[in-house]
């Protein structure tokens, strides 16, 4: 009968465990817990949140629950479904998003009412009239989302293998043909992949200015043709002869880290430095921007309509916008992300602190970055390019 008592013990253990889990969940809701849904694919970002932000929030009595997501679009789709069925108690309190995802959220009405002007940090430190705050990929933010940080698109390369990096798409084509199999870019559904394609679109059409207007599908059909031509021309010289493309930036990074390709890319001008520190990228890694400039944008935080901790979420966002948190975020030891607050509105000491931060050998100077910025265009273009690339390039 030993087996019987073993089984009984097991059953009791399970019931106990389930009760524990159930109690734990209830506790979660009553305590001040804020669930923040954000992209979880970067260890530096995760570490900044877990090791720097969370303990300080705990000191304020708030428990931060960071929920890592592979694609925030999944979360947004979930919220859209929840809005459809009328689910009032949601599990998402803060959403990290921008661009197309913001536009989708705004259109589907899944965000809470405008809140940024209730945040002291926002009023004190953010340049509220700057177009980089008022517009998100050409869409008016209208107070629905708070600017968390700024990034600029850079290309990352191994200076040991690439002696003179190309400075334009034209030069890139020559480089790719001279170094077959050593370059690739993520698929158009990927945030970074699409940005790469957009910049190609600009250069091949004489500049980004043309695309600052509203999206016109007919015009785009013609304007996108040179882009598809270019991509198909370089395709045979890409990694795997362009028969397949990395499904996301993480995969491209992995190929770069392993030495299979000699370049990668991405928003976040200081990312290379943190990866070098972690041993993922070779020490000879450096970055470059295109002569005609690279995309720069702001990323934001927002609160969904059915969050049950709206006031606590606002407190968290307010803290994340504070000079203390922004400076720590800027430091490449933590994350290395650009400031969303205006350095001119800060105290003298804080400004000094910022200027003293060394972003590492691989990060370009603020001066060089700022003189090569181009703004984002409307999210309609993003969608068009996403589909157009699949139809005109991926399927051969």
């Amino acid at each position: 009968m030993k087996q019987k008592s073993f089984l009984i013990n097991l059953v009791l253990l399970v019931i106990l465990a389930m009760l524990f889990v159930g109690c734990g969940k209830n506790k979660d809701n009553s305590e001040k817990t804020v669930s923040m849904y954000m992209w979880g694919g970067s260890e530096s970002i995760n570490n900044y949140m877990d090791k720097w932000v969370a303990p300080r929030l705990k000191g304020k009595g708030i428990k931060l629950n960071r929920v890592p997501v592979t694609n925030i679009k999944d979360t947004i789709n979930k919220l859209i479904t929840e809005k459809q069925v009328g689910k009032d108690d949601g599990s998402v309190d803060i959403l990290w998003l921008n661009g197309e995802n913001f536009r989708l959220s705004k259109e589907s009405k899944i965000l809470s009412e405008p809140f940024v002007d209730t945040l002291p940090s926002y009023n004190k430190y953010v340049a509220v009239n700057s177009p980089e705050v008022k517009y998100d990929f050409g869409e008016e933010t209208k107070g629905l989302e708070a600017p968390w940080g700024k990034v600029q698109f850079v290309f990352i390369y191994d200076s040991e293998k690439v002696k003179t990096p190309p400075k334009s798409f034209k030069q890139l084509k020559i480089w790719i043909k001279d170094n077959p199999g050593k370059f690739s870019y993520p698929v158009s559904e990927d945030f970074t992949g699409n940005a790469f394609l957009r910049q190609g679109l600009f250069e091949l059409n004489g500049g980004y200015e043309k695309f600052m207007t509203d999206f016109n599908e007919k015009a785009m059909e013609g304007e996108s043709k040179p882009l598809w031509k270019y991509l198909n021309e370089i395709e045979p010289y890409l990694w795997q002869q362009g028969r397949t493309y990395p499904e996301n930036l993480s995969k491209l990074d992995k190929l770069y880290s392993n030495g299979e390709v000699w370049m990668t890319m991405g928003y976040d001008e200081a990312r290379a430095e943190s990866e070098i520190k972690r041993g993922s990228f070779p020490k000879s890694t450096k970055t470059f921007v295109l002569d005609s400039g690279t995309l720069a944008n702001t990323h934001f935080l927002s609160i969904p309509f059915n969050s049950n901790h709206k006031s606590d979420a606002k407190e968290v966002i307010d803290f994340l916008l504070s000079p203390e948190a922004q400076i720590a975020k800027f430091n490449p030891d933590n994350w290395g992300d650009g400031l969303s607050i205006d350095i001119n509105k800060l105290s003298v000491e804080d400004a000094k602190k910022i200027n003293a931060i060394d972003r590492g050998q691989s990060t370009l100077s603020l001066k060089e970055l700022q003189s090569h910025r181009i703004p984002e265009i409307k999210a309609d273009y993003v969608k068009f390019i996403e589909k157009g690339w699949n139809d005109n390039v991926a399927k051969k």
């Binding site: 694609n71 679009k73 999944d74 789709n77 859209i80 459809q84 199999g181 698929v187 559904e189 795997q240 028969r243 397949t244 493309y245 499904e247 190929l255 392993n258 030495g259 299979e260 699949n390 991926a394 399927k395």
Partner: protein, 291 residues
């Protein structure tokens, strides 16, 4: 009355759960694919999703690719399983072969995503095997190493499935083999039969039905699996499961009925394969009983 309904009452909890969750889910999926309960909550019957699906080259390419890979994977796993079983049989029943058998079962210890990861670590151009071949001098550079993962022939995917599913097929066949061995081997040896002949003439015909039905199960599984093709597949064409996932989560909300239609077609195909496997297994059972 109690006696009569007894069997049904005992079955009820299991039936309820699988009935509502599984078949309920399938039915809901079909309904949504036919236009009911759509994005805005409206319902009107339409086979638009199916029409679009069948006309879409993406879908047909996915279907063909998935069928091809599933076929190759299941056949190769089955063949390898038989080869291994025969080898083990020829080496006899002893401690060594018991250990060998356990080693061949080891792939069952890792989930499919890990298995895909391991194949990737091994076979990437910058992977471990490539480092070894470079060291030994077989390849002179990273590029000289053949393309095995994320490749147009789905080699990486097939290798992963062979590694994972061969032990499964072996596991299905072992019990039958040991039953046959216990009953008949000694007697056959008394009559002068050698191990080799015994395998070919006695064991093999008896395990064929189980072998075929487990290969069919592997086929159904690899046909619908998601994780491995997601990690090791190509951008285009995608496997059916990845295609459906992509359509459901990355597409517009209006694409969802199509994703669910793809799911339904997937379910029908696997159900038919299951029916076949069942028929074969039954035949095997009656064959064995006659022995």
């Amino acid at each position: 009355m109690w006696q009569k309904s007894r069997p049904y009452i005992l079955i009820l909890p299991s039936l309820l759960i699988i009935g509502t969750l599984f078949f309920g889910g399938l039915i809901l999926g079909v309904l949504q694919s036919l236009g009911f309960m759509d994005v805005e909550g409206n319902s009107h019957f339409t086979i638009n999703a199916y029409k679009q699906l069948i006309l879409s080259k993406d879908f047909t390419n996915s279907l063909v690719l998935t069928l091809k890979v599933a076929l190759v994977s299941s056949v190769l796993s089955g063949v390898l399983a038989i080869v291994l079983i025969r080898l083990l049989f020829m080496l006899g029943e002893n401690r060594k072969t018991a250990i060998f058998r356990k080693i061949f079962q080891m792939p069952m210890l890792v989930p499919h995503i890990t298995a895909a990861y391991l194949i990737m670590l091994l076979f990437m151009k910058s992977g471990w095997l490539s480092s070894i071949t470079y060291f030994v001098g077989i390849t002179k550079s990273m590029d000289a190493f053949p393309i095995v993962v994320n490749d147009p022939n789905s080699l990486g995917i097939i290798l992963t499935y062979i590694w994972k599913e061969t032990p499964f097929i072996m596991l299905m066949i072992f019990p039958i083999m040991s039953r046959i061995q216990d009953s008949w081997l000694e007697i056959a040896q008394v009559f002068g039969a050698r191990r080799q002949e015994f395998f070919v003439e006695v064991i093999f015909p008896l395990i064929i039905p189980t072998w075929l039905s487990s290969m069919l199960i592997v086929f159904a599984f690899t046909f619908s699996d998601f994780e491995v093709p997601y990690l090791l597949g190509e951008t285009y064409p995608k496997f059916i499961s990845v295609y459906s996932y992509n359509m459901y989560y990355n597409g517009q909300l209006s694409d969802r009925p199509m994703a669910l239609a793809a799911n339904f077609i997937l379910a029908i195909i696997t159900a038919m394969i299951g029916g076949l496997a069942y028929k074969l297994a039954k035949k095997g059972y009656t064959k064995e009983v006659r022995w």
